[in-house]
């Protein structure tokens, strides 16, 4: 039997079709910002290895107004990415593990617990880093 002729519509501008697609792209896009910032920190370490002069130049970059602005953008991207990461976290946890928790321990609970743990750990690291700088 002959296969009937079919018509397949393309994926042109697929992200415009649903708001959730744009949210998804934003979520994935922020990971690029995180990767770039990781490279920037790596450049700082490389500068440290090269010598005190190079490191001071790299450190000097941090104090320009543009750097402040970029750091605010990066902080926003990090926060958004972490928030969405914890939002999808419950999907990756096998139910075998969650069943040992009391009844009523839902995805939302797991998400909240993880967010709090993240907040506390971040705060501890921040305080420790600030102390180290003094």
């Amino acid at each position: 039997m002959n296969q009937p002729r079919t018509y397949t519509r393309g994926m042109q501008r697929w992200w415009l079709r649903r708001p959730s697609y744009r949210f998804y792209l934003l979520r994935e896009g922020t990971s690029v910002v995180i990767a770039l910032y990781g490279l920037f920190l790596l450049a700082g370490m490389a500068a440290l290895a090269v010598g005190p002069g190079a490191f001071e130049t790299w450190r000097g970059l941090l104090f320009s107004p543009l750097s402040w602005l970029l750091h605010l953008v990066v902080l926003a991207a990090f926060t958004f990415h972490a928030w969405t990461w914890f939002k999808v976290l419950p999907l990756t946890v096998p139910p075998v593990k969650t069943r040992r928790f009391p009844r009523g321990f839902t995805d939302a609970t797991l998400n909240r617990v993880a967010l709090w743990a993240w907040g506390v750990v971040s705060l501890v690291i921040l305080v420790a880093a600030m102390r180290g700088l003094q």
């Binding site: 009937p4 519509r9 994926m11 697929w14 079709r17 649903r18 959730s20 998804y24 990756t92 139910p95």
Partner: protein
């Protein structure tokens, strides 16, 4: 008797014998409060245009035949109501990401092949024959797979998945959810046979957790969860095979 109002239904039309490409055709459809989009389409077919083609069967969200896009949202047309869109017009299109056979009917061949590839049936271990006795399962063991067993193969999840739209080699949400349904069943011993599908680039790793499959599922199957739990299983399998003796990989 409820009041009759009129709504404009804009349908995507495509007849392979006569049309080069799909086009939209609008119909003015009188409807009452309780009429679904499917009943609107049936009104068109019965009273306005007998050439309109669409699939349907049970009219109660069980058969999974009447899936279509309503205003870019994959839905079962039998449980989507015209009253929720009035007075705006609605646009009804075949499920996204699939080849269009005729009007609102899509070609499911690709999905059916994928469904077959995941061995969607219980594979008992050799020597495990309970005879004429029933197999016992605890309520907890049933809960492990019951949610994933609700799939009606309506393909709304594929129409919601941009990864499948961009690359149709991806095994996709429903097939992978059904794979997980059998892997999670205590009566099944077929994990090894399904591991190849999971591990493939087109398997669970084709998913980037857009998450829309679970949002649109009319049976709350949650394919996104099934797929992402198997990413852990796939990672474990990747590392554990180095520890297994040769010949058992």
């Amino acid at each position: 008797m409820s009041q009759t109002r009129t709504i404009v239904i804009e349908c995507l039309r495509f007849h392979p014998e006569t049309d080069e490409a799909p086009y939209y055709q609008s119909y003015e459809v009188p409807f009452t409060e309780e009429m679904s989009v499917l009943e609107g389409l049936q009104y068109i077919k019965d009273h306005l245009d007998g050439t309109l083609t669409f699939r349907w069967s049970c009219r109660m969200a069980i058969c999974g035949s009447c899936g279509c896009m309503v205003n870019d949202e994959p839905v079962l047309s039998c449980q989507t109501f015209l009253r929720d869109y009035h007075p705006a017009r609605i646009r009804v299109e075949p499920l996204a990401h699939f080849p269009i056979l005729r009007d609102l009917a899509i070609d499911q061949t690709d999905f059916l092949a994928k469904l077959e590839s995941v061995h969607p049936y219980l594979i008992p271990s050799t020597g495990d024959d309970p005879g004429d006795q029933p197999r016992h399962q605890t309520p907890d063991q049933v809960q492990d797979y019951l949610g994933y067993a609700q799939c009606i193969n309506c393909l709304l999840c594929y129409a919601a998945c941009p990864q499948y739209g961009l690359n149709d080699a991806f095994t996709g949400p429903a097939a992978l959810a059904l794979l997980h349904r059998y892997n999670a069943d205590s009566r099944d011993a077929g994990k090894d046979q399904r591991m190849e599908v999971i591990n493939a680039e087109e398997g669970v790793w084709g998913c980037t957790l857009v998450g829309e499959c679970s949002e649109v599922c009319p049976k709350h199957v949650d394919p996104a969860r099934a797929i992402n739990q198997n990413k852990i299983a796939s990672t474990q399998d990747y590392f554990l095979r180095f520890l297994k003796p040769r010949g058992r990989r």
